[in-house]
């Protein structure tokens, strides 16, 4: 991505994607390799090549349809699509941008809320300590998602196997990381 400062103004979603990610959407000739190789195509409501086609066609309402889809949140950034794309369209980077735009416009699909909650819990943990502590992350996520039981049965054996630390790892000066987050988030 070349530029992340958003000046939505009267730009369409397609124009925003092209500017931020540095891709030309029209170069996609719809061979469908991205969708064929996507490990999550069975779970998606919009197929990866379909999202590109919608950006190309720009028919009325396409922006909402894309930004409210679950596909943009399910994408694992595994890079299979990009690796096989004959036109080298950076779909994983496009998906990143679409996720961010979906949050900004408050259009996140309710079915994807837990994925977003997990990402937020993750970043909050990094903002606090500069490092990720899996125990802290798990507790924080459980409280946000209210999905309290899943994974609980694994915690004691993870502790016994020395895989969960009770004392959080931190950078030397956590305030330095907090300041960095503040500068970036504005």
């Amino acid at each position: 991505m070349e530029n992340t400062e958003l000046h939505t103004g009267d730009k369409s979603l397609k124009q925003l994607v092209e500017k931020s990610v540095g891709v030309e959407i029209q170069t996609c000739y719809q061979c469908g390799k991205c969708t064929a190789g996507c490990p999550l195509n069975e779970e998606m409501d919009l197929m990866p090549n379909q999202i590109l086609r919608m950006l190309q066609a720009e028919y009325p309402g396409y922006e909402n349809e894309i930004l409210t889809s679950t596909s943009i949140w399910l994408c694992l950034a595994c890079d299979t699509c990009y690796s096989r794309c004959p036109q080298e369209v950076k779909l994983p980077h496009i998906m990143d941008f679409l996720r961010q735009e979906s949050v900004r416009q408050k259009l996140v699909n309710p079915k994807a809320k837990n994925i977003l909650r997990f990402h937020r819990a993750f970043l909050d943990e990094v903002e606090r300590n500069g490092k990720l502590n899996e125990l802290g992350l798990t507790i924080d996520y459980k409280l946000r998602s209210m999905d309290l039981f899943q994974d609980l049965q694994n915690a004691p054996s993870m502790l016994l196997k020395g895989k969960l630390g009770l004392i959080p790892h931190r950078v030397q000066n956590p305030d330095e990381i907090k300041k960095l987050f503040k500068k970036i988030n504005g």
Partner: protein
């Protein structure tokens, strides 16, 4: 030349045995790894999903600290951390405005010129040349080398010759006296970062991987990514529910397997930290050839 080391958060937590076995093998071969002082989290999927600048700034801080320490090469064993550090580096190196912006955020200079090594490159360049003299055991069994996503793709970052059918780990396992199998799920995705928020998806994707390895006669799966290891090992109960017949095939890190062949103890290699017992593979040491 000095070798810098970026453990990343997983290797201090759920993937502890990856770092334990890496250090045990390095020590055996007389190689010193120098940890980057005060490194921080790479931001993983969360940062690149939610904030592009943050996804560059977090790895950039670590790269800046490595530069300050005078490290010209850094080993990043975790596949996900490698992906983030290498991606950030690509952006820093190719864009002067990005370098200026990051230096400003971090309040220290950052160039991003250090060489970032994958675990495969580290093994090839530093362990392979001396390994022969330390390998004392043959791991006589059939193994499925599972590469996953971020050590395979994208090719411009991972520098693999054949990203759809990599052979780097297969070569290591052959050296360790095991028989790597030819299989179809070498570079498929395990579900990665959806492990907690969509365990159902991880179970489905990982089940396909385990199923294929087992059906082709593998007795172990070897990995080089802590996320892959965690999903295939910790999530086995959920995975087994997705399979016709469950499996107790163990999932080891490549460095654990190599360590076993060097005669290092299972304890030292963290082989007791797994959810699916690794006992079967440990007992393959010195078994009759397959």
């Amino acid at each position: 030349m000095r070798i810098g080391y970026y453990p990343g958060c997983s290797l201090q937590g759920s993937g502890k045995e990856y770092s334990e076995s890496l250090f045990a093998v390095a020590e055996k071969c007389g190689i010193v790894l120098e940890e980057i002082n005060d490194w921080n989290c790479c931001g993983a999927s969360a940062a690149h999903s939610l904030n592009h600048d943050l996804s560059v700034a977090l790895p950039a801080r670590t790269l800046a600290l490595a530069e300050k320490q005078g490290l010209e090469q850094i080993l990043v064993p975790c596949a996900a951390c490698f992906g983030r550090l290498a991606t950030a580096q690509q952006e820093l190196v190719s864009s002067e405005p990005m370098r200026a912006k990051m230096s400003d955020y971090l309040e220290m200079p950052v160039k991003g010129t250090a060489r970032i090594l994958t675990v495969f490159e580290f093994l090839q360049e530093h362990i392979f040349p001396v390994a022969d003299q330390y390998i004392v055991n043959k791991l006589n069994h059939k193994t499925a080398c599972y590469y996953g996503c971020l050590l395979s793709r994208p090719k411009d970052l991972t520098r693999l010759e054949f990203p759809e059918d990599p052979m780097e780990m297969d070569a290591v396992m052959e050296m360790a006296g095991a028989t790597p199998i030819d299989w179809a799920f070498k570079t498929e995705c395990c579900g990665a970062g959806l492990s907690v928020s969509r365990t159902d998806i991880v179970a489905k994707l990982s089940a396909k991987i385990v199923e294929d390895a087992v059906s082709r006669g593998a007795e172990s799966i070897v990995v080089a990514c802590p996320m892959c290891q965690m999903n295939l090992d910790l999530r086995r109960k959920e995975i087994n529910k997705q399979m016709d017949k469950g499996s107790d095939i163990p999932v080891m890190f490549i460095t654990q397997a190599l360590g076993l062949s060097m005669g290092l103890s299972a304890d030292k290699l963290g082989l007791n930290r797994h959810f699916v017992s690794t006992g079967k593979v440990v007992s393959c040491v010195g078994r009759k050839e397959v």
